[in-house]
């Protein structure tokens, strides 16, 4: 089965890059190719210009955090790490260090069989960090973590990238990813559908703009004219009146509606745009591309509450 087709992308130091896509999009397969576990039919998966197999010291170059299942249940966490350390020539002092770093400082001598999924996920991260690698590749690291753990992981990844290192993280949790990543790579049906800085990608995304104004009816006419003649970048696809003073314009942007109202001298009490989110962008890009022919379709009307959403990472 073809999981990933003709995909190429570059990730940069100092950034957290989100690797996003629906289930079955080929995220895990791609990451496993980068880590030398899956062989591409053709082409190459290179880290620092080299395939994983050719890295002189893989543990010190790339840290791979995969599905937290590669543990012998009867082995202690510390021994699990010491074995990897032995191969890479890393001493047991560093093993204690990474256990401490991921919050397993007191669980090192426990058998992994008794670990919760969250603890296994942390241990998996600890293993990847053993060699203090320049590149960290993580496949759904938030899986099994509790909310505190997820927040911790987010902070950790941001900190790791801020040291000038490369963090590539796959996720299907868009809200979580939106808070963590600087750049995104969006994959659907095994193909790249978008790549770039998150805030740039979101700028082009259309949204629903909600305006509260005493001149609601005039605004509706103004926007309908704009939609018909289209002298603007994102003319609204539909405009409707919601209540006596609220106008909803879909398929446009605040940057389009605002200047129009300014030129027409319409007073604004309140203006919000919603759906200007990674999630919205994601659905637009991946619609109909899910594997197995089950297009998820667009979700219901986007929520209209909440302030203007800035998609960029904190």
């Amino acid at each position: 089965m073809l999981a990933v087709d003709d995909l190429s992308f570059v990730v940069e130091p100092g950034t957290v890059t989100g690797f996003l896509g629906p289930n079955g999009a080929g995220k895990t397969t791609t990451l496993r190719m980068l880590l030398g576990l899956v062989a591409p039919t053709s082409g190459s998966a290179l880290v620092n210009g080299r395939s994983y197999h050719d890295l002189a010291d893989p543990t010190r170059t790339v840290g791979g955090v995969l599905e937290a299942s590669g543990f012998h249940p009867a082995r202690t966490a510390r021994n699990h790490l010491r074995i990897v350390g032995t191969v890479a020539g890393i001493d047991s002092g560093r093993v204690d260090e990474v256990l401490e770093l991921v919050g397993l400082g007191t669980d090192g001598d426990r058998k992994v069989g008794g670990f919760s999924l969250g603890m296994r996920q942390r241990l998996e991260l600890a293993r990847a960090l053993l060699g203090d690698p320049q590149v960290l590749i993580l496949d759904e690291p938030a899986n099994g973590l509790d909310p505190q753990g997820i927040a911790w992981m987010r902070g950790f990844l941001r900190w790791y990238a801020s040291q000038g290192r490369i963090v590539l993280v796959s996720s299907h949790l868009l809200a979580e990813a939106a808070q963590t990543v600087d750049r995104v790579i969006i994959l659907a049906g095994g193909r790249l559908v978008a790549e770039g800085p998150l805030d740039q990608l979101l700028q082009g995304a259309t949204t629903t703009v909600r305006v509260r104004t005493p001149d609601a009816e005039r605004l509706v006419r103004l926007l309908e004219d704009a939609a018909a003649s289209g002298p603007v970048d994102h003319p609204p696809t539909s405009v409707r009146l919601e209540g006596p003073d609220v106008v909803m314009a879909e398929g446009t942007t605040a940057e389009t509606v605002g200047p129009l109202m300014a030129r027409a001298g319409i007073v604004v009490y309140e203006m919000t745009s919603s759906g200007e989110s990674l999630e919205q962008l994601f659905f637009e890009l991946t619609e109909g591309l899910e594997q197995g022919g089950h297009p998820m379709g667009r979700p219901g009307p986007p929520p209209t509450s909440g302030g203007p959403v800035q998609g960029s990472a904190p």
Partner: protein, 260 residues
């Protein structure tokens, strides 16, 4: 070398290895006692149950050491297939992406593991030997002579049997299948083939291991009446060949497949 050290650490850090050594000690002790104190027989069973205290008797009780071959085989199989069973193959290949090196390290580490199994078995048998001598059955020089006849061959065969186990595991990958095949070939298939086509049968793993085991026993003419075996060094080379060829075949087929 670091990879071999890591493989040895893998053995040391799980209880199943220690359990396996415990089973080895127990089986050797039990078998030795059964053979030693079974009523001796002038008839057909005289070969296995000779008069107490005789040279043949010591040779016979030390034949219990051959059970360590089976355990060495299991150790070798576990070394390879355990990684796939517990998915630890993922961190293993992340730390050492050159899979051939992992397999070679496992062959070396398991060879050492097989030696440890044989040494544990040998120690138990030796303690037993000294105990019976202490109890006034036979004399220690006769006992030690027989021990020296049996133990080196068992040690060599156990080392190579563990290597053969890694080869089986590398090719079959599945733990249960590898153990069933490994034990089934020796216990069921071999006797049939030996009976029907001895010229082929004598080259099968269990038979070449027996030939290797008799390396020192042959000198005493105590080959337990088995005449179809190949020479001990041929047996050793053949057994080593089984391990290496199977491991190489595994490295080029099953072990190359994607780890998902």
């Amino acid at each position: 070398m670091r990879q071999v050290a890591a493989e040895l650490k893998k053995f040391r850090t799980i209880w199943s290895t220690w359990l396996l050594l415990g089973i080895t000690a127990f089986l050797v002790a039990a078998l030795t006692a059964v053979i030693a104190f079974a009523p001796h027989d002038r008839g057909a069973r005289e070969l296995l149950f000779p008069m107490r205290g005789t040279t043949r008797w010591f040779d016979s009780i030390f034949s219990s050491l051959t059970v360590s071959l089976t355990l060495a085989l299991v150790l070798g199989i576990l070394c390879m297939t355990g990684e796939y069973r517990h998915k630890t193959i993922t961190p293993t290949y992340l730390a050492q992406p050159r899979r051939g090196r992992v397999v070679v390290s496992k062959l070396l580490a398991s060879a050492l593991g097989g030696a440890v199994v044989a040494v544990v078995a040998g120690a138990v048998a030796l303690v037993f030997g000294f105990s019976v001598v202490g109890a006034g059955i036979g004399d220690s020089s006769r006992m030690l002579t027989e021990y020296r006849h049996v133990f080196p061959g068992v040690l060599a065969a156990a080392i190579l049997y563990a290597v053969y186990g890694v080869g089986l595991g590398a090719l079959l990958k599945n733990q249960v299948v590898a153990i069933v095949v490994g034990l089934g070939v020796t216990a069921i298939l071999e006797p049939i083939i030996v009976a029907v086509v001895p010229s082929v049968g004598r080259w099968l793993p269990g038979q070449v291991a027996q030939a290797l085991e008799s390396v020192t026993a042959n000198a005493n003419g105590l080959n337990n009446g088995i005449t179809h075996l190949v020479l001990w060094w041929q047996g050793g080379l053949a057994l080593l060949g089984y391990g290496i060829v199977l491991a190489a075949a595994g490295a080029f087929t099953t072990l190359r497949s994607d780890v998902t």
